[in-house]
């Protein structure tokens, strides 16, 4: 029985690890400037903790195999040196791993969350609601209109609660259902929520940030590749959570300008 256990644990371990090693399922290609640091951090953690995983499981398998030896003459043995070497090993090994990961990782975190957005960032407002994202560009005047929750009306397409009757700045605001951005230009999003908590997640950008009702949360990034990607909600927001998404279209600067002109014309 013990040998069977050892074999099963070993097979499970090797099988599990092989899919990680082969990258059968893996992160999509990164398209942001901050992503490589996160990917690097993840690879590093994968190696370190992968070795711990392999070591732990295989050691368990080995010891169980040995312990199933039914030879009556065999005497029980205490782990060489008792608990102390194990405790020391755990503290040192895991301690080093922790310190390295924290040190390296805090840089990756800082690049995403602690560095302020570039001054020339393109500002886009995001409104999350049950169950869609809407995006707002300032329009030709470069000014965003004020937000008035009492004016929100999905039926007439006023998703942000603009008040164009009284607010001139709001009149030319462009509100669309897809996030269209120029490539290689820093983007600064301001996240608002209309109703409950949502989250902005683009796997390719390595960006995830919750929307918290009542507060505005800035997110900044720079996309390095053109293409069409999905923005999905990762914070449980109600019945349509699974269906809450929008597309991110990263365009060349020229295409973007043309697109924006077209929107402003409407």
């Amino acid at each position: 029985m013990g040998r069977l256990f050892a074999v099963v644990v070993t097979v499970i371990t090797l099988l599990s690890v092989s899919f990680f090693v082969m990258h059968t399922w893996w992160m999509p290609v990164d398209i942001s400037t901050t992503g490589p640091a996160i990917d690097h951090q993840l690879e590093e953690t994968m190696t370190g903790s992968g070795l711990l995983f392999l070591g732990g499981q295989l050691l368990l398998g080995l010891f169980v195999w040995q312990s199933s030896d039914k030879n009556p003459a065999r005497k029980i043995k205490i782990f060489p040196g008792g608990a102390n070497p194990l405790v020391a090993a755990a503290i040192i090994l895991v301690g080093i791993e922790i310190l390295t990961l924290t040190f390296v990782g805090s840089k990756a975190w800082a690049a995403v969350n602690l560095v302020p957005a570039a001054a020339d960032s393109l500002h886009i407002d995001v409104q999350a609601e049950q169950f869609a994202f809407y995006f707002r560009y300032a329009g030709p005047d470069g000014q965003f209109g004020g937000l008035h929750p009492d004016k929100i009306d999905d039926g007439s397409g006023n998703y942000f609660g603009l008040d164009p009757a009284n607010d001139v700045a709001a009149r030319d605001d462009v509100v669309v259902g897809s996030l269209v951005i120029p490539v290689n230009r820093p983007i600064l999003l301001t996240l608002h929520s209309k109703d409950v908590g949502h989250s902005f997640y683009v796997p390719e950008l390595r960006i995830q940030q919750d929307f918290v009702p009542g507060i505005e949360i800035p997110v900044h990034f720079t996309a390095t590749q053109t293409g069409k990607f999905e923005i999905v909600c990762t914070q449980l927001c109600g019945l349509g959570h699974y269906n809450m998404k929008a597309y991110l279209q990263v365009m060349s600067e020229a295409d973007y300008e043309q697109w924006l002109k077209g929107q402003e014309g409407q």
């Binding site: 029985m1 013990g2 499970i12 599990s16 990680f20 893996w26 999509p28 996160i38 951090q41 953690t45 903790s49 992968g50 711990l52 995983f53 499981q57 050691l59 368990l60 010891f63 169980v64 312990s67 030896d69 065999r74 029980i76 043995k77 205490i78 782990f79 008792g82 102390n84 755990a90 503290i91 895991v94 922790i98 990961l101 924290t102 990782g105 805090s106 990756a108 975190w109 969350n113 929750p149 009306d153 209309k194 109703d195 409950v196 908590g197 390595r206 995830q208 919750d210 918290v212 009542g214 949360i217 999905e230 999905v232 990762t234 914070q235 449980l236 019945l239 959570h241 699974y242 998404k245």
Partner: protein, 592 residues
Amino acid sequence: MHETSASHAAHQHTAPTSFIRKHVFSLDHKVIGKQYYDLALVAVFIGMGLSWLMRIHLGWPAWPIPLLDKLSAVGAPGGVMTPEYYLSLMTMHGTIMVFFVLTNAPFSAFGNYFLPIQIGAEDMAFPRFNMMSFWTIFVAFIVMMTAFFVTDGPPIAGWTSYAPLSAVGGDAGPGMRLGQTLWAVSIAIFCISSLLGALNFIATTLDLRTKGMSLARMPLSTWAWFVTAVIALLAFAALLPATILLILDRTAGTSFFIPAGLVLSDKLQPHSGGSPLLWQHLFWFFGHPEVYIAILPSIGIVSHIIPVFARKPLLGPRAAIGCIMATGFLSYMVWGHHMFVSGMSPFSANLFSVPTLFITIPMTILTLLLIGSVYGAKMRFTAASLFCLGFISVFISGGISGFFLAQPSIDIYLHATYFVVAHFHFVMAVASIFGVFAGTYFWFPKMFGRMMNEGLGKLHFWLTFIGVYCVFMPMHYLGLAGNVRRYSAFTDDYLIPLIPVHKFITVAALLTGAAQFIFLFNLIWSRFKGPIASENPWEATTLEWSTTSPPPFDNFGGRHMVVYHGADEYGVQSSDGKDYIMQTSPEKVPAR
């Protein structure tokens, strides 16, 4: 010291004779422990049934599930599950499993039954509170179940019930009317029950240890229950205020968690200024320690059982106790790691990340001590010991992924994906349940006076062990591919290629779940038909094996136990030719 009169006078209560006092409103910790166990058993099968329904829906969303429309015609018209009913089932699955199974079974059930016996006490310190604690949890459970039968179904806000989704009421969606209120009330009642329970555990451990039962001689299981009780006392004391405030927001129009200017279902909500993050802070201040409430008792149970079957003492029991206490302490400093992407100050991420990573140190030590205890053992392979070994394996698997999620930078990518689902199911759910299985196979003879069927037990182990890996290991891959959790269907372009993996998981989950019926059958059948158990069938040393199976009403039949040794005197040559020395044996322990 052995005067019978004194012992009778001191005993809390005499054995009851009526059925109701004996089996229903019993003050006997053993009966109460079994009641907790049975409640957890009912709950776990309900919870598992819910997970089956969810898995079937995830694999084959358009497939009408037979009879599901009978359970809820609105939630599953024609048997096809609506998105909100999926979330209802998910919420109930999480809540039932975390509160009524993982908190109940390893801690309240086994703790109630064996903590007093293992320290040589006749009962808990406050038997009446003990009874109240069970019956309040029973009420909490009934209230929670009622949510299935209200008009628009159970709540859909998940077991974490984030505000304002959980706080604004019916405008947030189906299930958020009465269902969510029932949820909050049930959890508040649960908190009270857990506080009463924890109080009893702490006072009992501190005051009722028998002669010679120094703290250091307590079995590791008792240690774990004691530390868990301390954690639970503070954790549930923090959750209770949170649920009270939530109930007030929902029913009295206050604005603790609901900010101004929210528009739900086209209606401007009449609230102002509340803080959604406040709920998250309060909830996770409870929620993270809750993880340890679920896992520490199982660690204790496994550490208690492994020496029995390894026939050698646990490696470094002092270090293990230290680790359990360190974990309990650190568990209060790490709640923010659930909130790395929540919008709280990004500067606090590192503050929470470092202690989170530090927790891996005591956990790694504990794991290594368990592995080291297997080294050089003469292992007796029984269902109980197999589940202990399985526990070590799944605990490693679940713990490792913690390295990823503890780091804010990686959590940006992995947060709210199936990677998280895999992590907490392995480390908290599966590991904890493995501890419960081990405890059940190990203690069943003591609790019911009959042995469980070993063959079925081993079959149950193999199917479960391989099964849980098939279910939860692939979830890591899904998470790496960015598969978001809490989705009732996968309609996103990048998720569609992952559906075959979900189908595989569904099949594995159905099979693994089916294997649990072997356990259920074994449990019921053995209760009546199992071979009669001797006093000490596993040749174990601790006090519960020094009394009859099952123990008499006062646990030791009027005897006052005196303890002479620690719990782990295995692998020694005793004077009567055995390889272990009971805790109650006055014999000197020879050198190994």
